[in-house]
């Protein structure tokens, strides 16, 4: 990894929130998303020479973010772990009953519903709903046609809605 010039650093760092949203969507954990976000930028600066068109920097960066997140999920599957700082935080500052019922519970239910999706559908849904990407951007990142993006998203949304509602009952 080489330390990038101020120009490149500023240009890529401007997309930090986009990258964070994606990382959050895939990891569903803010602390992990932050670490992943750093990892994405470290990778990006290391591969800066492969960025041919400066105009496509955002898509290029988000593509790296997606790959990094998928690698992270793969590692988790191989080696399920609990982060030390998370466990410590949970023990030191347990959420109140209200927060649990309103936020955590619903989020956990949604997390389970998204996790149950087929991989390709989950990919599209997270990129769209958390990353807020347009169909065209999604198509460019995933290197598929916009029509395929829409059909996958359609199926993913229906499946998540059904799973979420089913869990609720």
């Amino acid at each position: 990894v080489t330390i990038p010039g101020q120009d490149l650093f500023a240009r890529l760092a401007a997309y930090r929130e986009d990258v964070f949203r994606l990382c959050l969507g895939f990891s569903r954990n803010a602390a992990v998303a932050e670490d992943l976000c750093h990892e994405v930028f470290l990778k990006a600066f290391g591969r800066a020479t492969s960025l041919r068109e400066p105009a496509g920097a955002r898509i290029w960066l988000l593509r790296i973010a997606r790959t990094t997140c998928l690698d992270h999920l793969r590692r988790l599957r191989l080696l399920p772990t609990v982060r030390v700082e998370e466990a410590a935080r949970a023990m030191a500052d347990p959420p109140g009953p209200e927060a649990l019922s309103e936020t955590s519970e619903e989020r956990q239910r949604l997390k389970a519903a998204i996790r149950a999706l087929p991989k390709k559908q989950r990919d599209v849904l997270v990129l769209r709903e958390y990353g807020g990407l347009s169909y065209d951007d999604l198509a460019r990142i995933l290197r598929i046609r916009p029509g395929t993006v829409m059909s996958r998203l359609n199926r993913a949304r229906k499946a998540v809605t059904a799973a979420f509602k089913g869990e609720r009952r």
Partner: protein
């Protein structure tokens, strides 16, 4: 609810789910925004760039050196085995093989078979004497027809010196005794 693009209808998520996602993203972004992302990233970059040469050494250079050394070592071992087979066990066998072209002509003194262990006891019965005797005469037989590639016999003196070093003068003298007159013939 459905959203539309290019005439294609795509199912929309219910408001409840959209709200959960929106809140989750907002909470995450609020935490994230409160931290000095650029400073943290610059610190990590600096650490990574400092660690890069060491990492490169451990990941690329060290394995390459190890592999090269292993290949060279294996090659050298093979060469050594081919050129210089290890002389394990009683060295008499190795020495007798060196003079085998000469010994092969002496039917009354059969060669020990490969791998057979030959100790001082059998030497005392004449093996060393036979070996030395044939070594002296091997120079003539090895240069005859059909002996191309035969092992060059050691000169008698060298062989005898080796034997004396290995088994001592008295043993060698006793072993040579029955062959004294034959050496004269050669």
């Amino acid at each position: 609810m459905r959203e539309k693009q290019n005439g294609t209808r795509v199912a929309e998520l219910p408001d409840a789910i959209r709200q959960i996602i929106r809140r989750e993203v907002e909470d995450g972004l609020a935490d994230f925004g409160a931290k000095d992302f650029e400073a943290d990233l610059r610190a990590k970059l600096r650490r990574a760039s400092e660690a890069a040469p060491r990492r490169f050494f451990f990941l690329k250079t060290a394995p390459a050196i190890g592999l090269t050394l292993a290949v060279v070592g294996i090659g050298a071992a093979i060469l050594w085995l081919v050129k210089e087979p290890p002389r394990t066990g009683p060295n008499v066998l190795a020495l007798s093989l060196e003079i085998s072209p000469g010994l092969a002509n002496l039917e009354e003194y059969p060669l020990p078979s490969a791998g057979e262990e030959i100790g001082p006891a059998s030497m005392a019965t004449g093996l060393v004497g036979r070996a030395l005797f044939s070594a002296a005469g091997a120079a003539a037989s090895v240069s005859g027809p059909g002996t191309e590639g035969a092992i060059k016999p050691l000169p008698r003196t060298t062989l005898e010196q080796k034997m004396r070093l290995l088994y001592g003068d008295r043993t060698i003298e006793r072993a040579l005794e029955p062959f004294r007159d034959k050496f004269k013939e050669v």
